[in-house]
């Protein structure tokens, strides 16, 4: 084992590059690539947030003229929501937690000098970057960005004549997603190989931090899901441009025959959601891992039920592939399959509940330090519960008859997949910033950011439940045409005001981030007194992570408050502990 490890290390240890381009642009260093992913996601999240703000303004003030877009027409509104969803799901929620933090910290946390395939790693980032540029290009081409929503249901997404934006804009949209899939597949392959092959001596699977477990299972989900989406995307491009009819039956638009026949609109939905549901877990599993980690660190207590947490991550990953049909209860799919998908979906609530139970168990009898990363981790638990609670409503077809396509769904997935996951990203940023940049972030500003964002997120998304329960439908650019939706306008007004304040308070975060990079207080190597391997190395870590040394692991990842130990934490690389119970 030891020889194998050292041989592996030797073959992967490439010399530190000199020169700006090799070091910061086309870098092979997983840490630099992690930062590239992170800043790509940071750029993307501001674009996505800006689009959502425009939508919020339009919803309550339909005649307003807006920056960059002028007067918002119904089709402009639909383009905004399509691009908002696509940017957020792919280039933020998939990019930051996995590509960003996973890239930076997975190798260090398992004691490896780099990823298994550094060149592939660089390629996967630049592929993702290209995907983002192609997506943004859809805004500036004739006809503008597509209006078919981030789910791109065919035939709307397959027919150029179905609406403005369904020309070149839609081609760019699907091309961008296909490019993203290729990048994600390369990344997934790298993460899986690295986790299986590059662990330091003593880092058994059951000593891996839960963050590593989450990134590992997320990578497996990505490998299985993105391939399917890539295929579906290619078929859609062929339907659009080569006259095939995979997803389009005989249809007319405005009474004109389109030339297609024999395709199945439901096939697109099956393929899309076969990716789309695991994607939810691709976004949330890393956040679960990060928050599990932080709750243990700042409660100064071992994680409650480590093994249960690992099994729950696996169960979520496994079941995640068997529930895609719950997006399709109203699609015309057989009602018998709806019954099966419903049972599986309710089943996936069980491992999620186990995790919540264990997070509360970790806090109990702890000694909680309210640092800014801990506040975001606690906020994550609260939001995860709130977002999760609405799941069993939507998972039951009989209730979904009413709730499907209403704002109740928007509330559900924004809380659980969007906000909870973003809280994981914030928690991870405040936690790992000292390691990444060698300086501490400003704590009072960070706390202010937490309070505004936490209360703001609830103020935005809780009222959407009420809106949805009153049959308020999503993807309506105006609420003026349907009486039962028009009377809900006051809720929309409240949400827009809340969104304004919450989005404004994100600038506190950005200012803190960049200010602290240059002016923050110098960080020590282990400012949080945590146990995992990134805290034994220098701050920031050297090019090969451990400065030529190879760490040896003797302990589990969460040994806090061990009786008889000199300090209240025992590093993974410390001599093996024999705790007296």
């Amino acid at each position: 084992m030891a020889t194998h490890e050292s041989a592996a290390h030797a073959s992967h240890a490439h010399g530190a590059p000199q020169g700006f381009i090799r070091k910061w642009i086309f870098s092979l260093d997983h840490k630099v690539i992690g930062l590239q992913y992170y800043f790509l996601a940071l750029t993307a999240v501001f674009v996505g947030m800006f689009l959502s703000l425009l939508m919020r303004i339009h919803l309550i003030w339909p005649t307003a003229t807006l920056p960059f877009f002028g007067e918002i027409k119904p089709e402009t509104y639909l383009s905004l929501l399509t691009m908002h969803g696509t940017i957020m799901v792919f280039f933020v929620l998939t990019t930051a937690p996995q590509g960003g933090f996973g890239n930076y910290f997975l190798p260090i946390q398992i004691g490896a000098p780099d990823m298994a395939f550094p060149v592939l790693n660089m390629l996967s980032f630049w592929t993702t970057f290209l995907g983002f540029i192609v997506l943004l290009a859809a805004f500036v081409v004739t006809g503008g960005a597509p209006l078919h929503g981030w789910t791109g249901y065919a035939p709307l997404s397959a027919l150029q004549s179905a609406g403005p934006g369904e020309g070149l804009g839609a081609d760019l949209w699907i091309t961008s997603i296909a490019i993203f899939c290729i990048g994600a597949l390369m990344g997934a392959l790298n993460f899986i190989t690295t986790t299986l092959d590059m662990r330091a001596k003593g880092m058994t699977m059951m000593r891996m931090p839960l963050t590593v477990w989450a990134w590992f299972v997320t990578a497996i989900l990505g490998l299985l899901a993105f391939g399917v989406l890539l295929s579906a995307g290619i078929l859609l491009l062929m339907d659009r441009n080569l006259g095939t009819s995979f997803f389009v039956p005989l249809v007319t638009v405005n009474g004109q025959l389109t030339g297609h026949k024999g395709g199945s609109p439901l096939l697109w939905q099956h393929l899309f959601w076969f990716f789309g549901h695991p994607e939810v877990y691709i976004a949330i599993l890393p956040a679960m891992g990060m928050c599990s980690q932080l709750l243990s660190v700042f409660s100064r207590k071992p994680i409650f039920g480590y093994k249960a947490m690992v099994y729950a991550i696996m169960a979520i990953g496994f079941l995640g592939f068997m529930v895609w049909g719950h997006h399709m209860f109203m699609s015309g799919m057989s009602p018998y399959t709806a019954f099966a998908f419903s049972i599986m979906t309710m089943g996936i609530g069980v491992p999620s509940a186990i995790k919540t139970f264990n997070w509360l168990g970790t806090l109990m009898r702890g000694r909680i330090r309210f640092t800014s990363p801990m506040l975001f981790a606690i906020g994550f638990v609260s939001l995860f519960v709130t977002g999760g609670i609405s799941g069993p409503f939507l998972a039951q077809p009989v209730l979904d008859i009413y709730l499907h396509e209403t704002y109740f769904v928007i509330a559900h997935f924004h809380l659980i997949m969007g906000v909870a996951s973003i809280f994981g990203i914030f928690a991870a940023t405040y936690y790992w910033f000292p390691k990444m940049f060698g300086r501490m972030m400003n704590e009072p500003l960070a706390k202010l950011h937490f309070w505004l964002t936490f209360v703001g997120a609830y103020a935005i998304f809780m009222p959407m439940h009420y809106y949805g329960m009153s049959a308020g439908l999503r993807r309506y650019s105006q609420s003026t045409e349907v009486a039962f939706i028009l009377k809900l306008l006051p809720i929309q007004r409240f949400i827009t005001i809340a969104a304004f304040i919450t989005i404004a308070s994100q600038f506190i975060f950005v200012i803190n981030l960049f200010w602290s990079m240059f002016k923050g207080a110098k960080a020590s190597d282990n400012p949080w007194e945590a146990t995992t391997l990134e805290w034994i190395t220098a701050t920031p870590p050297p090019h090969d992570n451990f400065g030529g040394r190879t760490p040896v692991v003797n302990n589990g990842p969460y040994e806090y408050s061990v009786p008889g130990a000199p300090r209240d934490f025992v590093m993974q690389s410390d001599p093996e502990i024999k705790p007296k119970h």
């Binding site: 395709g263 309710m346 186990i354 039951q396 209360v455 439940h465 329960m469 049959a471």
Partner: protein, 268 residues
């Protein structure tokens, strides 16, 4: 900080729960035979999940305050968990989630597994960008042929559906822009779409079903209250999605017969 967290988390929980309990914004009154069962299951789910929501949030607020550094507990306990508790919790949530599912499955089966009754009123509902058309088979009980190449959306009515006037079965078909149905009769809707996917949603009937191009989807519901109910499109279908709405008029059997006869007469 622990106390502030407790207060904020508890306040958010209580304010959120208040609007659910007070039913400030709620489902419109149900007007179909299935509505009572669906609404009952809604309420049961709200109580169960509401309890879990409140309990978990209150516990979270309490724990972060109680076990704050500098609080009453001076030392964190060294514990890796409790397998018995873990198993109990897992079993309880499994029973809760699967139980909820099974409790509602009979309603789903009644709505979707069973075909419409033989004496049901047949209405073909066709969605197109951005309008709904409703077709009645007339006295012969048969829908006439429609042909895509005959469609003329701008002409509206029969022409919009591409009705083949040479087909004898189409002679007595009635096409309407308003959906008129008799009360207390089962309505069989046959859902079709010409261009893209639309979704036929009548909140008061607790009825929603996508209309998919290439498919004719058969569904049924029974209105039990006369009145006008709004129909809205619930699947993104293009730039006019937000204004693709219609009216469902539920009337007495006599009024329905009179209305249909008048439309037949107009046609002759």
């Amino acid at each position: 900080m622990g106390l502030v967290l407790l207060v904020v988390i508890w306040l958010i929980t209580l304010v959120s729960t208040y609007f659910f309990v007070a039913k400030t914004w709620w489902l419109p009154a149900g007007a179909s035979a299935a509505a009572a069962g669906i609404d009952h299951h809604f309420t049961v789910s709200f109580y169960l999940m509401g309890f879990v929501f409140v309990a978990a949030q209150l516990a979270l607020g309490y724990l972060v305050w109680k076990y704050r550094e500098g609080g009453s507990s001076q030392k964190a306990s060294y514990s890796h968990g409790n397998t018995t508790l873990e198993v109990v919790w897992t079993v309880l949530t499994t029973i809760l989630f699967v139980g909820m599912n099974l409790a509602s499955s009979s309603i789903w089966a009644a709505e979707r597994f069973r075909a419409a009754e033989a004496n049901a009123v047949h209405v073909e509902v066709t969605g197109m960008q951005f309008a709904w058309y409703f077709r009645y088979p007339g006295p012969d009980g048969k829908f006439g042929l429609t042909k895509p190449e005959l469609e003329d959306a701008s002409a509206g009515g029969e022409a919009a559906l591409g009705l083949d006037t040479h087909d004898p079965a189409s002679k007595d078909d009635v096409v309407s822009g308003v959906m008129v149905v008799p009360v207390n009769r089962e309505i069989e809707v046959i859902l079709r779409a010409q261009d893209v996917i639309h979704s036929f949603f009548v909140p008061s009937m607790r009825f929603k079903q996508d209309a998919v191009p290439g498919l004719a989807i058969h569904m049924h519901f029974t209105p039990i209250q006369t009145g006008d109910y709004e129909i809205a499109c619930a699947e993104l279908c293009g730039l006019g999605h937000y204004k693709m709405h219609g009216i469902l008029k539920v009337v007495s059997q006599e009024e329905f017969d009179k209305w249909l006869a008048a439309r037949e007469a107009e046609k002759q």
